[in-house]
Symmetry: C2
Subunit: 372 residues, 2 copies
C-alpha cells in the first residue's frame, strides 16, 4: 500500500516517506561519503547529519569545494511567522546554527510576514508581526552569532527586497508558479508573486558585495519548491544557484506523528508552561502495547512511537544511548510510562532553559535586526 | 462601420471613440451640469473641462459634496517611466496641477518604475530609474507646489508601499486580474501583482492620517482598469473608493493620430531640440487638401487633422481663437502650411520655456521626493 502524504510550502500532512520525497522533488540523498567530506572541514558531525535528519541536499558538494578554495559561502534560512514557535520549527535552525559555528558563516534570516499574511485570510498584518517578533526571540535563543546574523521581516526590509524581487518575478510565469505551487485562478495575486520575495536572500549577499558569493540554505524540506524556481532564475540574473540542505519534519505527539497547531496537544510550543508540556508528553501516542503485561512480553515499536522520535530529533543526542532506548523498548525492558517520564523531564528542562534565553534575547534583539 | 481601437494600461491604439470607451469602461460622462457644480468652487473652468478633454469621471460629485462639507480631498496621479516624457503625458498632469491650485490639495505622484521594469523585458531597472528621474523634472517644471506635492518611485518607497500592497493583493484573485488586464498564463508573476502597488496611493493619505481622506485621481483613461479593481477592494480595507477624472489622449502627428515612441517623428518629447520639434510639426499629417488650390476651394477637415488637435489640447487656450482656426480651415481661408508654421512656433516657444523650467527643477527636486 502506498502511504499518502502531502508536502508543500503551506501544508505537510501524513507520514512522510522521505525516499519518495527525494524522488518527487528531485533531491540528492545525503550519503555517508558526503558526510565524510563534510567532516573533513567540521572535524565532527552534528547528530542531525549522523541520523540523516538532514536527509537530502542540492549542490552541497559544490559549496564544500568552493569553501576549500577559500570562496566562503553565506547561510540563508527563514521562518513563516503564522503562530508561536514549536519544537519542530527549531530543526532547520539548529543545523543552521551549527553550520554558522563550524564554517564561521554569515547568515540572513528571513521572516516572511508578507507570506503568512497573504496565505491566512483571517489574520491582520499587525498580529503576524507580533508572532514574527516573538519567533525571533526563539531564533536568538538558539545562540546565533550577533555579529554574523541578520534577521529581517519582509515588510520592514521591503525597500531592499522588493526591487530585487521584481527582477526575479520577471523570469517566472504564472504557469510555472501554478505548476510548482498548485495555485488556481482563485488564488490571490499576492500569493503567486510571493516566491519572488523568498528568492531574494539567496543572492542578497552577492548583490551587496558586488561579486558572487555562494549561498547555502538549510531548510525544512517543504520549502524546497521555492528554491527549485529560484535555482532556475538566479543564473539568468548572473548569480550562482543556491545550495540547499533539507531537514526532516519533527513528528507530532498524536497518532502517526500528527502535529497540528489547531490541535495544540500534538505539539510543544517554546513559550508554553513546562509543566503543561510535560503533561502533553505523558499523553503522547506511543508504540507500546495495550497493557504493561503485553508490552513486557511482546516489546514496543519505536518506529511508530512519537516519544521515540522526540528522543531521536532533540532529546537524546548520544547515539549509543538512543540505540539503547530503542533496544530496551523492543525487548520489553523499557515501558512507555517511564520512557515518557524521562522525556517529559528533559522537555521541561529544555523549555525552562530556552525560556530564560528567550527573555535574555529581548535585550539584544536590535543587534540582530536588519531594516531599511 | 465600427472603428477598432484598443485602450489598456499598456497599449492605446487606433482612433479612440470616447463615447464607446465610456460604455466599455462604465464611466460617467462629464456633463455641463457637473461643470457648473465644479465652477461653484473654482470660479473659472480649465479649458480641458470646457473642451471635454477631461471627458469622464467616477464620483467627482461625491468629492465636491465632501469638499463643500469641509472634508478636503487629496490628489493622486502617476507616471510609468518607460522613456522620455512627450507632450501627451502632460495632459493629466496639467489638470492635476490646476486642481491642486484651485482646491489647495495635497498630491501624491507615483512613478511606477517597477511596472515599467516588469512590462519591458529588454530594459534594466537602472535605465528605468534614469527615465524616472528625467520624467520628474517635467513634472516639477509644470509648477506643482513643493509644499503640497510628494513624488516617489515605487522601488524607493517600497517599505511604505509593499506592506499596504499585500493588503490589497489579498482581495484580488488571479482570475480578476486576468479578466481586467487580459493577462495569460505566460505573463510574469510581477505583472499580475503590480496593480496592488498602483492601488496604494489611493488610500495612503488615509493610512498616514489615521482617518479616511477622500482621494481624487486625475488620469489618462487607459489607467482606469487599475482603479476599477481598487474601487472594489478599498472599501473592504475600510477606505473610501477613490474618485477619478479621465483625460483624453493627445493624438500623435501621424495619420489617424498615430503616436508611438517607436516612431519618434509622431510625437514631441519635452527634451528635444525645439527646432527638431518644429520640423516634426511641419511634417505632421493634416486635414488639408492635396493641393493648395483644392484646399482653398473645398476647405480642410480639422476633425482628422493632428495639427488642429495640438491647438485644441495645448496650443490655443482661447476658445474663440480655436473656433476661428477651425472655421478658417473649413472654409479654405487657413492653409496647412501657415497653420503648421504658427503651431511650430508655439511648440518651439513652449519647449524653450519648459526646458528652462526643467533645468531649474534639478535644484529643487529633492524638495519633492518621498523615500523610505
Amino acid at each position: 500500500m502506498v502511504e499518502k502524504f502531502i508536502v508543500t510550502p503551506w501544508e505537510v500532512r501524513g507520514r512522510v516517506n522521505y525516499n519518495r520525497l527525494i524522488k518527487q522533488f528531485g533531491l540528492v540523498p545525503i550519503t555517508d561519503e558526503l558526510l565524510e567530506k563534510i567532516k573533513k572541514f567540521t572535524h565532527d558531525l552534528h547528530y542531525f547529519f549522523r541520523r540523516k535528519i538532514v536527509f537530502a541536499h542540492r549542490d552541497i558538494d559544490w559549496i564544500l569545494s568552493e569553501y576549500e578554495k577559500k570562496n566562503q559561502f553565506y547561510l540563508y534560512t527563514g521562518r513563516g511567522p503564522s503562530g508561536y514557535t514549536h519544537l519542530g520549527h527549531l530543526i532547520p535552525w539548529i543545523i543552521t546554527k551549527w553550520l554558522q559555528d563550524k564554517f564561521n558563516a554569515k547568515l540572513y534570516f528571513q521572516i516572511t510576514d508578507d507570506e503568512k499574511f497573504l496565505f491566512k485570510e483571517s489574520i491582520s498584518l499587525e498580529k503576524i508581526k507580533e508572532f514574527a517578533y516573538d519567533n525571533i526571540l526563539d531564533i536568538i535563543a538558539l545562540g546565533f552569532d550577533p555579529k554574523k546574523t541578520r534577521i529581517f521581516l519582509n515588510t520592514e526590509y521591503a525597500k531592499t527586497l522588493y526591487p530585487e524581487a521584481i527582477k526575479v518575478a520577471r523570469h517566472i510565469t504564472i504557469s510555472t508558479a501554478k505548476a510548482v505551487f498548485g495555485f488556481k485562478n482563485d488564488s490571490n495575486i499576492g500569493k503567486i508573486f510571493f516566491t519572488s520575495m523568498q528568492a531574494v536572500p539567496a543572492f542578497l549577499e552577492s548583490k551587496k558585495m558586488g561579486r558572487n558569493v555562494p549561498c547555502l540554505i538549510p531548510l525544512a524540506a517543504d520549502q524546497d519548491p521555492h528554491f527549485r524556481i529560484a535555482r532556475d532564475v538566479l543564473p539568468k540574473l548572473g548569480y550562482y544557484k543556491p545550495a540547499i540542505l533539507h531537514t526532516k519534519f519533527l513528528p507530532g505527539l498524536g497518532p502517526e506523528g500528527k502535529m497540528s497547531t489547531s490541535e495544540p496537544e500534538t505539539c510543544i510550543f517554546t513559550i508554553e508552561d513546562p509543566n503543561l508540556a510535560a503533561k502533553k508528553v505523558m499523553n503522547a501516542f506511543t508504540g507500546g502495547g495495550a497493557t504493561e503485561k503485553e508490552q513486557r512480553e511482546k516489546g514496543g515499536n519505536p518506529d511508530i512511537c512519537s516519544v521515540y522520535q522526540y528522543y531521536l530529533f532533540l532529546f537524546e543526542q548520544d547515539d549509543e544511548k538512543l540505540n539503547q532506548i530503542a533496544q530496551e523498548c523492543k525487548n520489553g525492558k523499557r515501558i512507555c510510562g517511564e520512557c515518557k517520564q524521562i522525556l517529559a523531564e528533559r522537555v521541561k528542562k529544555f523549555l525552562i532553559e530556552h525560556q530564560e534565553k528567550r527573555s535574555a534575547a529581548k535585550d539584544v534583539l536590535e543587534d540582530f535586526m536588519l531594516r531599511d
